[in-house]
Amino acid sequence: MKRDLVIIGGGPAGLAAAIAAYDKGVRDILVVERESRPGGILKQCIHNGFGLTRFKESMTGPEYAQRFIDEAEKRKIEILTDTFVTRLTDKKEVTCMNERGIFTIQARAVILAMGCRERSKGALNIAGTRPAGLFSAGTAQKYVNLYGMLPGKRVVILGSGDIGLIMARRMTLEGAKVLCVCEIRPHSSGLRRNIAQCLDDFGIPLYLQHTIVEIRGKERVEGVVVAAVDKDKRPIAGTEKVFECDTVLFSVGLIPENELTKGAGIPLDGRTKGCTVDGDRETQAEGIFACGNVLHVHDLVDFVSEEAEIAGSAAAEYLFGGERQKRLIPVQAGQNVSYVLPQRLDAASESPQKLYFRVTGAIKNAVVRVEGGDGVREWKKIAVAPGEMEHITLPPAYFREAEGLCVSVLAQEA
């Protein structure tokens, strides 16, 4: 089987990429989706706040997804559901498996849009027992929102990622008592608005620099021991406090799901755990693009859609014109910046380039500084935090002669 464009994943990234590619003229598109319906993780995100940036209105996750599903349907883009991609090669061979069998598609271009997974509790090496009642926050969200079941009644949440914050509110609304959210770092990894709306509004305490040091209970969780940690994240003896609970939710990070990518031998960025890409979101394998949470974990789906459109349009351009002559220059993360995406930029590009980045720690009155191009450019930001992705846009005139760029964030001098 041969297809022009195969998109792996029918979540928000895959759908937006498909629509963008279609609108640039690509007609032979196949979106491969492992679940029974497209929409990805948005299907279980029934809270609102989606689309504020992109559509200037507040939607629920399913509503946001539906817009893209409708657009894809309007264009008659084929979405193959209940189909799992088992193998990908750098020659753009995509092997799929579904109830009709195993088959390989030779694509002319591929867009990776597999999303991410939650970092599991197992990776944390928490002392104590391993009873029922330990859930990653997203799993609990699925039980509550898609199954109509409440995992437990007294809950402690470890990690202040957005899904954990959302679930603190959700479990509370469904009648559970959420005792606290513990965050080992000195700052939350979630959005500020989620801390206000999901914890503060419900009187749920957030204990920064605290972690769970022991899980108790034989068959079902009976309690946890929480302790304060020092600056090296080591528990401080004497600060232990016992919380009786029947459930623990873990919201301790998201990891791009790049098993297929690794299988294809495409290089990943150790920091983002996604591919290293250029401004087109093209990976180091020609004709294979990546977007959404498989590329780097986003806080807002609005930016996923935007990124997917870049990838979809670029894939279309590639399909019609072949690999463009690019002059790729590296974009580096400087002081206080954990990563910048894209990692490489086509200095020959005629369009402005948007750089996305995250900071390593919260800074108030920050200055974003870009160096390496035509002089030094600076942008002021009232506040930046690791939980919120930032972006700046560079005009082509800035990077045309550059050999490499560096983005840093500094505290503004008073």
């Binding site: 498996m97 109830e99 195993i102 090496n125 509550v144 199954y147 079941m149 079902r220």
Partner: protein
């Protein structure tokens, strides 16, 4: 009345049942937990020991060697993955004499192929070996096997041949009846059999006591482990040991039969059975494992757990007829190398019992069981043939381990049937991968509900009151 009741469905009980079914005997296995392999057989190193470690002349040495010899054929029959990856016991500077002593003991025990390798050869065999390791005892007959997989397969094969399994049967008393014993369970159930085999692991001292036999004590020694993701699979090829001490074989580092890397165990004496893990345990594992290998990818840890070894006060296996009580046979105190020894222990116990009962051979016994991993070992073409007949084999439920709906359905319809999330996990690997069931758990939960007609609040993680949903339906 059964001919034989085996108490305990760990790896030893499972092999006793399977070997008993090679004779013309009616067999029942009574297990206190809700599934097989619930104790030490679930959480151990999964090593098939070569046999150089046990004291010469001990039962451990005898059954270890015999079990190691049998393992290949047993695993082929039962369809369990077994690899003779070989083991290496590392020695640093000044430890050559101890290593030599271990080599001599191995020779005395009858271990074949043993030799001492120098630093250069060692580094070629294991490029990531720790710098401090100067030489090693190489045992090519050492191997790895999945301990719960082996238990499930042995029990399943015994059941396929007619053995009965009573889970949730916690024996609380035993009384003489005409021609044998009647066992009473906490649940009120009873079982009668002419002979009882005590394979109750940590509980075997208590089981003996039900029969008025107090000839041995059982202690509990906890071992903690860390399991690394399959992506670290190429990090180590052999099973890496340090020199044994009085406390045991110490922390080892090994590939598992399923391609992960396992590091552990610690060794913690305990007053009672407890599988909780300790923070100090992780520190201990890290510190000791670094003496074996360098740059261990601990960041790829996907889970940590603990198992409890039940050891006897004789510090050797107890494999004998009870002196205190007619009709009771003990297979107790089976600590390491118990997994290796299990096939041999089962064969020995079954022979004793069959002779006692005058039982003949069971001419219809079929030793072969379809491998649990049969589907995943097919070629794409063969898989397509299966999917054409049974489309559920084309539907992936666990994405990390790529487990299909068909395999999960089979796990509930094959002996011994899975009834819990952990039961499915141990049989199919669904939930055992890097996301640790985050994605597939609700799916497996649904499959269990529909197969057994369970309410939402009836599905358990591993039986008893380990309910998954504790807040009810909304």
């Amino acid at each position: 009345m059964y001919d034989v009741a085996v108490i305990g469905a760990g790896v030893v009980g499972a092999f006793c049942a399977r070997e008993l079914k090679k004779y013309d005997l009616d067999v029942v296995v009574a297990e206190s937990a809700d599934d097989v392999a619930a104790g030490a057989s679930r959480a151990n190193s999964g090593i098939v020991h070569a046999g150089f470690d046990a004291p010469a002349g001990s039962l451990k040495a005898k059954f270890n060697l015999e079990g190691n010899r049998l393992m290949e054929e047993v695993c082929r029959e039962l369809g369990v993955k077994f690899y003779r990856n070989g083991s290496l016991v590392l020695a640093g500077k000044g430890q050559e004499e101890q290593l030599r002593a271990l080599f001599e003991r191995g020779i005395q025990n009858g271990v074949t192929g043993l030799r001492i390798v120098g630093r250069e050869e060692l580094a070629a065999m294991e490029p990531n070996v720790a710098e401090g390791a100067q030489s090693a005892l190489y045992a090519p007959t050492g191997g790895i096997v999945c301990p719960y997989g082996l238990t499930i397969a042995a029990m399943g094969n015994a059941m396929d041949n007619g053995a009965a399994l009573e889970c949730g049967f916690k024996a609380v008393s035993a009384e003489r009846c005409k021609g044998g014993w009647t066992l009473h369970a906490a649940s009120g159930k009873t079982l009668s059999a002419r002979i009882v085999i005590n394979c109750a692991g940590y509980g075997s001292e208590q089981v003996a006591a039900l029969f008025g036999d107090s000839s041995f004590r059982i202690g509990a020694r906890k071992g903690e482990y860390m399991l690394l993701d399959r992506s670290c699979g190429g990090f180590v090829r052999h099973t890496m040991f340090s020199l044994p001490t009085a406390a045991g074989k110490g922390v080892l580092l090994t590939p598992t039969a399923d391609g992960n890397v396992l590091v552990g165990p610690t060794s913690v004496e305990q007053a009672e059975y407890d599988t909780s893990v300790r923070r100090e345990g992780f520190d201990d594992i890290r510190a000791k494992a670094c003496l074996l290998m360098k740059d261990i990818p601990f960041s790829q840890t996907i889970t940590s757990f603990a198992g409890v070894r039940a050891y006897s006060d004789r510090h050797d296996f107890i494999v004998e007829w009870s002196a205190a009580c007619e009709g009771l046979f003990h297979v107790a105190g089976i600590e390491s190398p118990g997994l290796t020894s299990a096939p041999a222990l089962g064969a020995y116990a079954a022979k004793q019992v069959a002779e006692k009962l005058g039982a003949g051979k069971n001419s219809t016994f079929d030793p072969v069981r379809r491998p649990q991993h049969w589907f995943r070992s097919l070629t794409d073409e063969e898989k397509n043939e299966v999917i054409a007949r049974r489309p559920e084999y084309g539907k992936i439920v666990c994405r990390c381990e790529e487990v299909t709906l068909g395999e999960i359905v089979d796990a509930m319809r094959t002996n011994p049937p899975a009834r819990t999330l952990d039961g499915i996990k141990l049989r199919t690997r669904a939930g055992m991968g890097r996301c640790q069931s985050g994605f597939c758990q609700p799916g497996v939960f649904d499959i269990l509900r529909s197969e057994y007609g369970l309410q939402a609040d009836e599905v358990t993680k591993n039986g008893g009151k380990s309910f998954v949903i504790a807040g009810g339906e909304l």
